[in-house]
């Protein structure tokens, strides 16, 4: 409810946070005009951590570009690697072996589970459920252990190659995935009891930061935040890649189960359901890894890509990640341009904050799961 200024006995106040502030989910500036504790208008300013990674790709050769591409979103680097590989493979007309495609799918779904767990953990801190956040990090560690087992690295794996992946499946990896998916499935029920069935948690998120389907579409939102508002778009279903068409999985949508469709609670529920779907997908995929090669060709430093261009889309944990690659036939890319989901999704923040109260600010911002590394790439 918005009270009149006379009733509140207050005047407009201009507040600003950032660029570095624990209230914010990353490095950006937030300006708000408030009346009492109500936010009348808000605007954001970004660019404080601009890393020039698109330019870095132009200065490196095709092979070593992957190093800077890993840094675009350090939490989920395999999605940027995949988008870049798909685009280059299209220009070079490289057929990726089915075994390599399935390995890529498995690692990406592990990355999705890890990213959504991280989101739940951050949201638990924002809502005052810090104990739960520690429990969730325990499962996130299991995902990182699996990355280490398969790629040799917990972060920035630099594992995908043009035409496949860098190595075949490590011994014991499939068994560990089965164990981990079963364990996370059990722990999800615990989190459900601790958070979703806790009235204090529900009250912090239901009816908060409501995003309508029309506004989500108007602002070009993608990913779980858009699907929570009822926008049924998932690149894995709309334009399947890397063998997703072979597997049956559900795309969860916001149902307004505790508040209304598109509120903060729906954004949590959609991600929780996506974790479950990814776990199911993982358990099917690891049992269906086809025999064959894991790499179509061995690229070297002097690898040249024929003149041409390609555009690839993948569904990252935050939404549609797209990559436009241009080559002039040389050893370096002419252009590697990224469309990252957070750079688009952050535009909704001023609209969403209008009418919110100051105490809801961290919760509303956290519920969108923005990554400033993606925005300032």
């Amino acid at each position: 409810m918005i009270y009149s200024r006379e009733r509140l006995h207050s005047q407009n106040t201009h507040l600003s946070w950032g660029p570095s502030d624990p209230l914010l989910p990353g490095v950006f500036k937030l300006f708000a005009e408030t009346e009492g504790d109500l936010i009348r208008s808000a605007k954001i300013e970004t660019g404080f951590l601009h890393k020039g990674l698109e330019k870095c790709s132009e200065k490196r050769n095709w092979f070593t570009s992957m190093v800077s591409i890993d840094r675009i979103e350090p939490e989920t680097p395999l999605f940027t690697e995949l988008a870049f590989c798909i685009a280059v493979e299209e220009i070079c007309n490289i057929q990726v072996p089915r075994r390599a495609q399935t390995i890529r799918l498995i690692l990406c779904e592990l990355g999705r589970v890890g990213s959504h767990l991280n989101f739940l953990s951050r949201l638990a801190i924002a809502t005052g459920f810090e104990t739960v956040s520690h429990y969730i990090f325990r499962e996130r560690e299991l995902i990182l252990d699996l990355f280490e087992l398969m790629t040799g690295r917990r972060f920035n794996p630099n594992f995908f190659r043009f035409g496949g992946v860098a190595a075949d499946i490590t011994e014991g990896f499939i068994e560990r995935i089965h164990e981990t998916t079963r364990l996370i499935e059990i722990r999800l029920r615990e989190y459900h009891a601790l958070m979703i069935e806790n009235r204090a948690f529900v009250d912090r998120l239901a009816w908060q930061g409501i995003l309508s389907t029309e506004l989500a579409q108007f602002k070009g939102l993608t990913g779980p935040s858009a699907r929570a508002s009822g926008l049924r778009y998932d690149v894995r279903k709309a334009e399947p890649y890397s063998g997703y068409e072979q597997f049956d999985f559900r795309v969860p949508l916001g149902m307004g189960s505790r508040g209304t469709t598109g509120d903060g609670f729906d954004r949590v529920m959609v991600r929780l359901e996506e974790i479950r779907e990814s776990l199911l997908l993982l358990s099917h995929a690891v049992d269906a890894v086809p025999a064959g090669d894991f790499l179509a060709l061995h690229t070297q430093f002097e690898f040249a890509v024929p003149a041409g261009e390609a555009y690839s889309r993948v569904e990252s944990p935050r939404g549609m990640l797209a990559c436009h690659v241009v080559s002039d036939g040389g050893f370096h890319p002419v252009r590697v341009q990224w469309r990252t989901p957070s750079a688009s999704n952050i535009e909704i923040i001023p609209e969403i904050l209008r009418g919110a109260t100051l105490q809801d600010l961290p919760v509303v911002l956290s519920s969108f799961n923005l990554s400033m590394a993606e925005v300032d790439r």
């Binding site: 660019g47 601009h50 579409q217 070009g220 709309a238 390609a310 341009q337 535009e347």
Partner: protein, 159 residues
């Protein structure tokens, strides 16, 4: 060629060209910069296209020109296409001007305000999103242009 693409060519006959985008089967419509806004508005409104989502906008420099690619998607027709135009790269670190498509796709401001300062392209009538990107380089320096001198020296903002 489908009937709807023929319709597009009949309207923008002299100023457009239809191609495949790269190796893909995705359609790319190349339009002269003078009729770019008209073509964008036509694709947004025309019943057989209804390209209601601007998925991405990308600029790259080649052969002395900036190539602007608009990656479009239609939710009603369930199709995608690429709209492309090109403008010459200005001499002597000048600024290039191009009309903004924010009036057609409100979401365009995200891409225009990000890539505009890095290439030195001003999008006329665009609603500038606040970003400090444009203040990170000296006047006349545009890092994504091919003429930009890449050095190992840090910028004046580095500590």
């Amino acid at each position: 060629m489908t009937a709807r693409l023929k319709k597009f060519e009949s309207v923008f006959n002299q100023d457009s060209q239809t191609k495949n985008f790269g190796r893909s089967e995705e359609t790319m419509l190349e339009v002269s910069s003078a009729r770019m806004i008209e073509a964008a508005a036509w694709l947004r409104m025309e019943e057989t296209f209804r390209m209601d989502i601007l998925e991405n906008m990308s600029i790259y420099e080649a052969k002395g020109r900036f190539f602007l690619s608009y990656f479009l998607r239609s939710t009603s027709q369930d199709t995608t296409l690429v709209l492309r135009t090109s403008i010459p790269v200005p001499q002597d670190s000048g600024i290039a001007n191009h009309p903004s498509v924010e009036g057609i796709w409100p979401h365009a401001g995200v891409f225009e305000s990000e890539q505009g300062p890095l290439f030195g392209v001003t999008f006329e009538n665009g609603n500038k999103n606040p970003s400090i990107i444009r203040s990170l380089w000296k006047k006349g320096e545009y890092p994504l242009r091919k003429s930009y001198e890449w050095t190992n020296k840090g910028s004046e903002h580095d500590l």
